[in-house]
Amino acid sequence: MLRIATALGVLVAVVAAIVQVTSYALLGSVAAQPSVPALFTAAWPFDLFADTGLARVPAVRRELARAALLRGEPARAATLLDGAGTGDAAEDLRGRLAAATNDPGDAVQHFGRAGDIVQARVLIDAIAERDPAGALRLAVAFDRATARRDVPAAVIAQSDWHEGELAAAVAAQSPATSAALVRESLAKYEAAAHLDPTQDAYGLSVGFEAIVAGDAARSRDAYAHVAAVDPQSVDAVTGLAVADALTGACGPARDAFARAQALATHNQRTLDPAASGYGIAAQEALRRCLAPEPPR
């Protein structure tokens, strides 16, 4: 019995050692220099897997393609990804390959199918710095691609929210198309808030953008929802004050603003207790409501 156990243990150790050395060869470049794994970095596993026929196994092809991308060999990666399956991992690697070959449109499609918002954001944010409208187009493409796959709701919510942010940023830069973009931004924020009601940021964005869109009642609903989930949220209560002021409900607006000021002293998450980030019309409405009533 002991001999069998020892033999099994040795066999497992030998197999594990072979797998580990192969991983070092393929992926050793992720290791810091100097280190033992980095010393083993080599190309021999590509030939070995091809010669033994193991490279026909989709899971092996994916790992080899990942290694090829890591080594900066996109041509080899492209060959390996042909026949590497259609799951999340394969789609994600195709997205990385497209990004490496400067094809962001194709990359976001693949990232969308894989549900990889992290890689998509890296790509889209880099483009947004010089071309917000182009970045918005990519975000829309990513969002559409996620709809075709079983991507987790929290990822879709994050995608919607970022798309809303990009649409709002483009709207601020292009007055000619701003009304449509503001509506688009608001719709995306609402979709995110619907998918993940526990994220304050989504509800706050709905509230703010609804005011930009001129819909104070919708804004009030959104802020009221955030304040119900998180009664300590100064920004939600300030937003309530602004929305009330815009609908002419000065009493509730004054109460909400006073509550926001009191909360603000206890809450360092506060972004804008004075409501100075809202548009001129909103600030003016709030100022009118907060002005002392003339003596009768």
Binding site: Q20, V30, A31, V36, G115, R269
Partner: protein, 408 residues
């Protein structure tokens, strides 16, 4: 060396090493949590821990052949060996070896604990320092939670109790063994003062644990309670506790908001565990090295995970974390170490006094509870070096030498 200095060093080492997550601000700003301690305070705490461990280690010079040390040596040797071998093959050797230096100090401090535990002054200092230090930590945490101060910490953690720790989960992980140990001392104490101190600490710790809203911590607390009741012969009550634990899990799955968790955190653990298993499959023999997980994480991140999982320090499961960091070789050595430690503890348990049995059962239950918390959290290498080393040493010492009557 002065016996009092030795006692103080071992006692401080045992208290401070268990609070290792308090040292996180030393690494600078982090994407998780809102640290309460400043970087300077964390450095002072780390320095005091290193000095205490060095003093404790110095006391071992002429004691390596001591019977107690001989019992603990193979256990700690196997565990330290697992970390060192994984460190040699680490993908991030600088970080692994910085940690290994501290792990070696932790092993030395733990061996000193085993050697000097039978001296009543040392055991007395350790028990009281741990209870008083713990009482301060749990009282401060409760005060912070009730007063919502500091506001940034309260708000960042959705009102979950964190105390001086960085995240509610880290606090809960520390609370479980403290709660179990304090309960054990309260049950075993002979003097009123010690019983009050231990019971007060346990009570506040239980309130704090509830206020962390840490699901892993709650499960760990339930598991610790079950294990203690089981080992102390109260098996029907233990079965009732199991039902409560199942109810807690059900609540969390049905509605994360009830337990103050964000929707986006709901499946984060599953993705993290999947990534950890992928890492273990790529580097199966010796892993990626202690604390080197983040370096290789981009290779294994699950594509459809949320933005919260863009980076990861560990796979949020202590066993998979050990497997990914130290490989099959490391995990085998760690299991072998626990088997050796378990044998020594069970041997001592069967012939111990009722007080010692109570203490062993409660402390072991605390570690078992923390291990259950580790199903959804905790970094394997840190857990091994900073929690299992000292607590296994304490259990071995208790099982071997019992506890002097004057300590309780």
């Amino acid at each position: 060396m002065n016996l009092l200095a030795r006692a103080a060093a071992i006692a401080w080492f045992f208290l401070a090493i268990g609070c290792y997550t308090l040292l996180a601000p030393i690494d600078g700003p982090s994407s998780i949590g809102a640290p309460v301690l400043s970087r300077s305070a964390a450095i002072v705490l780390a320095a005091s821990l290193v000095i205490a461990a060095l003093v404790a280690a110095a006391s071992l010079r002429a004691a390596l052949d001591d019977d107690g040390v001989r019992t603990a040596r193979p256990v700690l040797g196997l565990w330290l060996g697992a970390l060192i071998v994984a460190g040699i093959f680490s993908v991030l050797p600088g970080r692994s070896w910085s940690f290994l230096a501290l792990a070696i100090l932790s092993a030395a401090g733990s061996l000193a604990l085993v050697r000097w535990w039978r001296v009543p002054v040392v055991a007395r200092a350790l028990v009281r320092t741990y209870l008083w230090g713990g009482l301060v930590l749990v009282a401060v945490a409760l005060l912070m939670d009730v007063t919502h101060r500091p506001e940034s910490v309260y708000a960042a953690n959705l009102g979950r109790a964190t105390g001086l720790f960085v995240t509610p989960n880290q606090f809960a992980a520390w609370l479980v063994p403290f709660l179990a140990t304090a309960s054990g001392v309260a049950l075993a104490a002979r003097t009123r003062g010690l019983r009050l101190l231990a019971a007060g600490g346990a009570l506040l710790a239980a309130i704090d644990l509830a206020a962390t809203f840490s699901l892993g911590g709650w499960l760990g607390g339930c598991a610790a309670l079950l294990a203690a009741l089981w080992w102390l012969g109260r098996r029907r009550v233990a079965a009732l506790g199991a039902l409560i634990a199942v109810a807690l899990v059900a609540i969390a799955i049905v509605n994360p908001a009830v337990v103050r968790h964000r929707q986006s955190e709901r499946f984060v653990r599953f993705d993290a565990i999947r990534a950890g298993m992928h890492m273990a499959a790529l580097f199966p023999l010796t892993g990626v090295g202690p604390l080197a997980y983040p370096r290789a994480y981009p290779l294994v991140r699950v594509p459809s995970s949320t933005e919260d999982a863009a980076i990861a320090e560990h796979p949020h499961d202590v066993t998979i974390s050990l497997l990914a960091e130290t490989g099959l070789a490391g995990l085998a050595a760690i299991v072998a170490g626990w088997i050796l430690a378990g044998r020594a503890i069970v041997r001592g348990f069967s012939r111990a006094t009722p007080q010692t049995r109570t203490l062993i059962a409660c402390i072991a239950a605390g570690i078992a509870g923390r291990f259950v918390h580790g199903f959804v959290d905790l970094v394997g290498a840190l857990e091994l070096a900073y929690v299992w080393f000292p607590f296994a040493a304490l259990l071995i010492a208790l099982a071997r030498d019992g506890i002097a009557p004057e300590v309780l």
